[in-house]
């Protein structure tokens, strides 16, 4: 399945849910926020929200800033 994650093409055979994707990327779910096709997905739904071919996903976290 081809996804666009943070502006980059990401191919995966394993990722089906957001949680699967985060695990595949080695990202801890507790510290991020996720948007799929411009809609924010609640953390509680990461394990059940299914991703589809061509989905645009943004995964953000907190970085240093003023």
């Amino acid at each position: 399945m081809k996804l666009i994650v943070n502006g980059e093409l990401f191919e995966t055979s394993k990722s089906e849910t957001i949680l699967d994707l985060l695990n595949a990327l080695g990202i801890e779910p507790g510290r991020v926020a996720v948007e799929v096709n411009l809609t924010i997905v609640k953390k509680a739904d990461y394990a059940t929200f299914r991703l589809h071919e061509g989905d645009g996903i943004e995964v953000v976290n907190f970085v240093g800033g003023g």
Binding site: G30, R31, E58, G64, G65, G66
Partner: protein, 256 residues
Amino acid sequence: MNDILIIKGIEFKSRLWVGTGKYKDFDETKKAIEASGADVVTVAVRRVNIIDRKSENLLDYIDPKKYKILPNTAGCYNVEDALRYSRLAREAGISDLIKLEVIGDEKTLFPDTIGLLKATEILAKEGFIVLPYSNDDPIMAKRLEDAGAAAVMPLGAPIGSGLGIRNPYNIKIILETVKLPVIVDAGVGTASDATIAMELGCDAVLINTGIAGAKDPIAMAEAMKHAVIAGRLACKAGRIPRKLYATASSPFDGML
């Protein structure tokens, strides 16, 4: 001395708030924040770098249980982006606090006050605790208060400029105009700038570049800590009036 700042039920013990940007590395960030005594730190909201998967994260160094994390919407030049970043920040799951920035211009990084007002109103209705980074216009401060902001954050001078409190008179008028806490954000360059802001009567000062950009950030963080305490104490102590002419400090009685 109980001098806690309370915003929407959240208690802030230190009146120095610090940013986490522009440091050499996470270790320096951590040490500077500790030296500053701050209990609020700002952070930015950015994409996780999925190509270069460094194992370290800012929050590995800044414990969200020990510090209040205040996400900002830095880099947002319109209302839609500011709303998007705010909602993402909240979903990252720490609190409803947001330091709202809607920037109007790349060179000055001055706020787009019209966009800022719109975004404040929308986010306040969504239950955010909105702390808008604003200009030093008292009319704007009142509008932000009416729109549901939880505090106002007038700039002292452009972000990172180190020019200090450019318009202390306006800041004083803002303090008289709104009932909300007033937190100077941006432009503080050295300790005396922070002291001036607090002497005016401000409730807190937010400093990033002034500390991170100093030759010795950890020493400057400590300086700012004392500067804010000194300014606050001086404000509460009640300064002498300014006079054109002298009044002797030693008595005339007993002169030879």
